[in-house]
Amino acid sequence: MNLTGYGILFIFVILSLLFAVAMLVTAYIVQPKYKREIKFQTYECGLNPNQSARIKFDVKCYIFAILFLLFDVETIFLFPWAVIYNKIGLFALLEGILFILVLGIGLFYAIKRKLLEWQ
């Protein structure tokens, strides 16, 4: 029985995790540990923070996230199309054009509706 590429990939995933953990552990062993109160203050330009940073925060990317989800899923559909593009010929080309046009129209709509502006 032989390892396929995916098996090696799996080993790589585990090993890279181990490698990263090993780096942290080494540093933990080597580093000095002089605990002083003042060191543990959150940095806010030299002042005590006046409020926690974990608040309900408006990040302006909600609409981008939704668009991203749509486009990402649709581009995933394009991958198999790209691979067998050569074998199908004209039909694949027409299908591809249609699909990309649909994506393009969606994007055009989003731009026209000014969904991408910040203010």
Partner: protein, 350 residues
């Protein structure tokens, strides 16, 4: 060669092939990990020296001959530096974030073919795996921004979200155009489809795709002019404001390793990978491998040089323009490019 030698040796003493293969994978990993660290140490020095040259300075010149050991000294300093996590940080996520940021880069090193014989992982879905792993690392930034309990980090994390969400798609679309051209998702096959010298490289028909790929890469890497998540003049250090010691070093290491590996990916996809631009190799036997490595790194460092040059020249882009620029200009262009490439492919080789 070494693989065959070890393989016969292992068969000679009756080690099951599964164990041997795993051992080989571990060996490859150790090799690539050492390689990555050397590359990063060199790359940091390379960038600092080059930026110094761009701005009429000398750059680091004290440690070792003309400063060649500067980055090693920096690495040791970061290793033995005290690791501080402030009050109210989410300790688990705070530690997990650099891990998550660092891990994918290491996997990416394994996914790349370096010469036609030297590669660790060769899977039919290579490109998809690369995309998946690349997208993973921005999760680390978001976690770091949230876990730090620092407002600057939070803003940096939020910017990282917008950035990775926006530039992921042009990146995928530009890579997709290459897949259409090559008809394969395997990185090695994509490279071999470009054999035959400079004029067979995919950068020639797909120059627009290359530009889009490069812009998106810079955005994914958080480099100038897209270094918003860590914009030091606005957000101090962005997501890594609260990090120190080894955790910071891991962010730093992973960032430069990513710069290297994504430039390498650009070379693989657009510039014929390890192939010589003249179409023929000058060496014979084992030297062909060395020559392939030389061409690969030469092209990669050309792309890295370009990135450093851009960093020395351009100011930072405005944070609200970043996503608008992507969705309004880069993405429609990427779609058009994909259309153009599929028609081109249909006419030329369909």
């Amino acid at each position: 060669m070494i693989y065959d030698f070890l393989k016969t040796f292992a068969e000679g003493i009756n080690i099951p092939s599964l164990i041997f293969e795993s051992f080989w994978a571990v060996l490859m990993f150790a090799f690539l990990a050492a390689f990555m660290i050397i590359v990063v140490l060199f790359l940091v020095l390379f960038e600092r020296k080059l930026l110094a040259a761009f701005t009429v300075r000398k750059g680091p010149n004290r440690v070792g001959l003309n400063g060649i050991f500067q980055t090693i000294a920096d690495a040791i300093k970061l290793l033995i530096k005290e690791d501080i996590s402030a009050y109210n940080t989410d300790k688990i996520l705070f530690t997990l974030a650099p891990l998550i940021f660092f891990m994918p880069v290491m996997i990416l090193f394994g996914l790349m073919p370096y010469t036609n014989l030297l590669y660790a992982v060769n899977i039919p879905l290579g490109v998809v795996a690369v995309m998946a792993v690349t997208a993973f690392s921005s999760l680390g930034l978001i976690l770091a921004g949230w876990a730090s309990n620092n407002k600057y980090s939070l803003l940096g994390g939020a910017r990282a979200v917008i950035q990775s969400v926006s530039y992921e798609i042009p990146l995928v679309l530009s890579i997709l155009s290459i897949c259409v051209l090559a008809g394969s998702l395997n990185l090695k096959e994509i490279i071999l489809a470009q054999s035959g010298g400079l004029f067979h490289w995919y950068v020639i028909p797909n120059i627009l795709g290359f530009v889009i790929f490069y812009i998106s890469t810079l955005a994914e890497l958080n480099r100038n002019p897209f270094d918003l998540p860590e914009a030091e003049n606005e957000l101090i250090g962005g997501y890594n404001t609260e990090y120190s010691g080894m955790k910071f070093a891991m962010f730093f290491l992973a960032e430069y390793a990513q710069l290297f590996i994504l430039s390498l990916l650009g070379v693989l996809l657009f510039c014929g990978g390890f192939q010589s631009p003249f179409g023929i190799y000058f060496g014979v036997g084992f030297f062909i491998q060395l020559e392939q490595l030389f061409w690969l790194f030469a092209k990669t460092f050309c792309l890295i040089f370009l990135a450093i040059w851009i960093r020395a020249t351009l100011p930072r882009i405005r944070s609200d323009r970043l996503s608008v620029f992507c969705w309004k200009y880069v993405l429609p262009l990427a779609l058009l490019n994909l259309l153009f490439i599929s028609i081109y492919k249909f006419i030329m080789g369909g």
